[in-house]
């Protein structure tokens, strides 16, 4: 099997990311400059985005058994690259205050995105595993990037140990599946799932494989690290962990385990149902009276991944549409949420206490307004993308008669409303015992203009596609139609 020039063109988005990472590293070796690193990174991400169209113009094809560049993969690679670019733009002002060399940060961001892109295109255990590990290892470096912060170290240790352990489960599961069936391809795994029956060893393999996936998605019971890592990592990295790493793994989940939803009595289906319900309940409950904004967002992300699992477990292309659209909405909202945290953060710590947000409506009206829209979208309020996302999930879920999950989804969304409005109230309502703004006002964070403008764009995105989601829905529908739906 040889790789042709045509194949290289097809995987050019991945190559662009790789080259960009190497270029940033080489540039930093000779000439330390934040602006240069940022420029190359953005250029690399733009190239990856641009080459998507090159790849799209070629017939979708498998490049070796490892990756398949079809519309589905391209959509997700584009999403990941766009999210990474947003994170990069947020990082500019943030890292400038950071007082450590920022170049390695961009190298790691690019390698992590490469890992995510590999996952989105992966059709084989080897690319699955390597993509996941590139992502993980890059994230270790990113989470601990502010090495002088004790919380960052603590977060990185937790993430590293748990990621390592769950990767071991993942590989063991892969080995069991391979031992039992002799296949390592996505198609083979899908066939296996479709005709699983009572093959106990293969089922154990699949469950162990799901441990690795579940950890990355941060669903119950693999969710425990989420709040600590979200809190400890620098805000833009948290945005990245919350979006790119989860989105990429979810893309992969759909590719490998699509037929799980066709047999609602299978063990794997039941296990995932339990995971989805537990995630929705635990995530929303844990956020209820939490006072750290990053932790609130962490817990709410657990719940949102639970919602996504409901979409995944619904059958048919409608489920794919729900997953795709909800992920895009989730990406935009989560990026904007952590963008607000980033923009507000003073140099010595992240603006993550709820007290930092009291009276924000009058001190920093634009970030406050953005955060309000974001929270409303997370709560699923109409006229935001969050609502459309939740709506497509509920239609998919009720279309597949997943009533228990749909009911839990609706009920727990109501709980979610409580802590989202709590944040909004904190921003706009001044308590009586409070003389002025927050007791220890947050020092003004300099250089946030770029970040604030990106926030504006994200908010517009959330609102426009909340009112007129049609184009995005069509795009997602087209992308997911290439998957082998039963």
């Amino acid at each position: 099997m040889t790789v042709t020039w045509g194949d290289l063109l097809t995987v050019s988005p991945l190559i662009a990311l790789t080259l960009a990472a190497v270029a940033v590293m080489l540039a930093a070796a000779f000439f330390r400059s934040h602006a240069l690193a940022l420029g190359i990174t953005l250029g690399g991400l733009a190239a990856a985005f641009g080459t998507l169209f090159v790849a799209a113009s070629r017939a979708e094809r498998d490049v070796t058994p490892l990756v398949r560049m079809d519309a589905y993969a391209l959509l997700f690679i584009g999403l990941l690259a766009a999210a990474a670019a947003v994170v990069v733009l947020f990082s500019w002002g943030y890292l400038d205050r950071f007082r450590v060399h920022p170049e390695e940060y961009y190298v790691l961001l690019l390698t992590a995105t490469l890992g995510g892109a590999t996952l989105a295109a992966s059709t084989h255990f080897a690319s699955f595993f390597l993509g996941l590990e590139i992502l993980s290892v890059s994230l270790y470096g990113l989470i601990v990037y502010a090495v002088y912060r004790d919380e960052a170290v603590e977060a990185a240790v937790k993430y590293l140990v748990l990621a390592g352990a769950t990767s071991a489960f993942l590989v063991f599961g892969m080995a069991l599946v391979y031992a039992q069936t002799g296949t390592m391809t996505a198609a083979g795994v899908s066939d296996l799932v479709a005709g699983l029956g009572d093959d106990v060893v293969a089922t154990i393999g699949l469950v162990m494989l799901l441990v690795g996936i579940g950890f990355k998605l941060a669903v119950v019971p693999f969710h425990m690290w989420t709040p600590d890592v979200y809190e400890g990592a620098p805000a833009p990295v948290t945005a990245y962990v919350a979006t790119v790493s989860k989105g990429a793994v979810f893309a992969l989940l759909l590719r490998f385990l699509l037929p799980v939803s066709s047999d609602q009595g299978s063990t794997v289906f039941l296990a995932l149902t339990a995971v989805a319900i537990a995630s929705m309940v635990a995530g929303n409950l844990l956020a209820l009276r939490q006072d750290n904004v990053k932790r609130i967002l962490a817990y709410s992300s657990i719940a949102h991944l639970g919602y996504l699992l409901v979409a995944f477990l619904a059958t048919g292309e409608r489920a794919g549409l729900a997953v795709g659209f909800y992920l895009i909405a989730y990406f935009a909202t989560t990026l904007a949420a952590f963008g607000v945290v980033t923009v507000l953060s003073p140099p010595d710590r992240d603006a993550d206490r709820i007290d930092d947000y009291r009276g924000l409506g009058s001190r920093r009206p634009v970030p406050a307004a953005v955060f309000t829209v974001v929270l409303l979208s997370l709560a699923g309020m109409p006229l935001t993308m969050g609502f459309i996302g939740k709506f497509v999930i509920v239609t998919a879920g009720s279309g597949a008669a997943l009533w228990a999950m749909v009911i839990v989804l609706v009920a727990t969304s109501t709980i979610g409303l409580y802590y989202y409005t709590r944040l909004i109230v904190a921003m706009y309502v001044r308590r009586r015992d409070e003389a002025g703004p927050a007791a220890t006002p947050l020092p003004a964070a300099p250089g946030g203009t770029l970040g604030v403008s990106v926030l504006g764009v994200l908010t517009l995105f959330l609102l426009v596609f909340g009112v007129y989601p049609q184009p995005l829905l069509r795009l997602v529908e087209h992308a997911v139609s290439v998957l082998p739906w039963p």
Binding site: A126, E154, V157, L160, A168, V171, F172, L176
Partner: protein, 102 residues
């Protein structure tokens, strides 16, 4: 040669995996915790080699190589973070790393 059954190889892998996992659950020394992860990864690699041997394919061994690479990467970053961990917490007890909670 063929008298070793696949099950026994996989059971060996499972035993090693389980021991590593038990260590992970029990030991508090970060270096030992990292070693336990290595044990688990190694056991998973062993399972892959055994699986490859069942089908007489090279794929199992190839996957083992990637697991090996990943284990190396994990340990390199892990030990670097461990050094920083020691400075930050004046020790290596992972149970001390509980300042963020709730």
């Amino acid at each position: 040669m063929a008298s070793v059954s696949l099950e026994h190889a996989l059971i060996l892998a499972a035993i090693l995996f389980a021991i590593g996992f038990a260590g992970l659950l029990t030991r508090r020394n970060l270096i030992v915790v990292l070693a336990c992860i290595e044990i688990m990864l190694n056991a998973a690699g062993l399972a892959f080699v055994a699986a490859g041997a069942r089908w007489g394919q090279a794929d199992g061994q190839v996957m083992f190589l990637f697991v090996l690479a990943m284990a190396g990467a994990e340990v390199a970053v892990g030990l670097a973070i461990a050094i920083r961990f020691r400075q930050s917490l004046k020790g290596l007890d992972v149970d001390d790393a509980d300042r963020m909670r709730g």
